[in-house]
Amino acid sequence: MTVETDFRRELIQVIPNLRAFAASLAGSFDRADDLVQETLVKAWDKQHTFQPGTNLKAWLFTILRNEFYTQMRKKGREVQDVDGIHAMQLAGHPEQQGHLDLQDFRKALDMLPDDQREALILIGASGFSYEEAAEICHCAVGTIKSRVSRARTRIGQILQIDGDGEYGPDSITSQIIGVAPAA
């Protein structure tokens, strides 16, 4: 009984992270929360296969990711819809400074191939190691590394294309301006 209560408490602790990861995969809050719900149900059913002491967060992320790609295969590409992405942007905090910045970043992120985006999120935001991310994505550590690297380069290119003052005084713009006056 105590074990189950712990499991429940730990599950709840991971939910914010699951939602953020799900939103980055699915592109909308509604779909993200549906994914999280499926994940919680599956995790609950399989909780006896979870080995206490191992990484519950990684275990849950794996379930969520599997669920997402299973749904993708069933439904096809419509899983990621433009309306949903707009809905997600609306759900942000407009009063927050840098909101526009964030919107642009979301758009850039959304232009990445799925595998690169998820690698970037897992490593850059969810706080997983390359080894953990590789396990979650069922691929080699080197594959994760190269996806993250390509994702970074791609995002840099996208923001360069759309880049204006908003990405301003930091190193990206000055590097770009400094390096590419040739054309």
């Binding site: 992270n17 993200a32 910045d101 995002i155 990206i172 590097q175």
Partner: protein, 76 residues
């Protein structure tokens, strides 16, 4: 070093791209990383919706009920 020289002497498109992406890799991790975390935390900082808490309650109850039933069967 060699790339930089090549770029200055003979700024062909291919060489320029090469230098750009090298510079970019040095410049981007923080700039991208900060935005990435801001994007992620925007969602992750939101309170856990009630639907998930009540879902877990339901799962809990369903399991407790299953257990009670199987205990009853054992007694009979």
């Amino acid at each position: 070093m060699e790339e930089r020289n090549v770029d200055r002497d003979r700024p062909s498109a291919g060489d320029k791209d090469k230098v750009d992406s090298n510079q970019m890799n040095l410049a981007l991790p923080n700039a991208i990383g900060d935005r990435l975390r801001a994007y992620y935390d925007d969602v992750a900082a939101a309170p856990v919706p009630d639907r998930f808490l009540s879902l877990l309650d339901q799962l809990d109850e369903a399991e407790a009920k299953r257990k009670r039933e199987s205990d009853d069967e054992d007694c009979e």
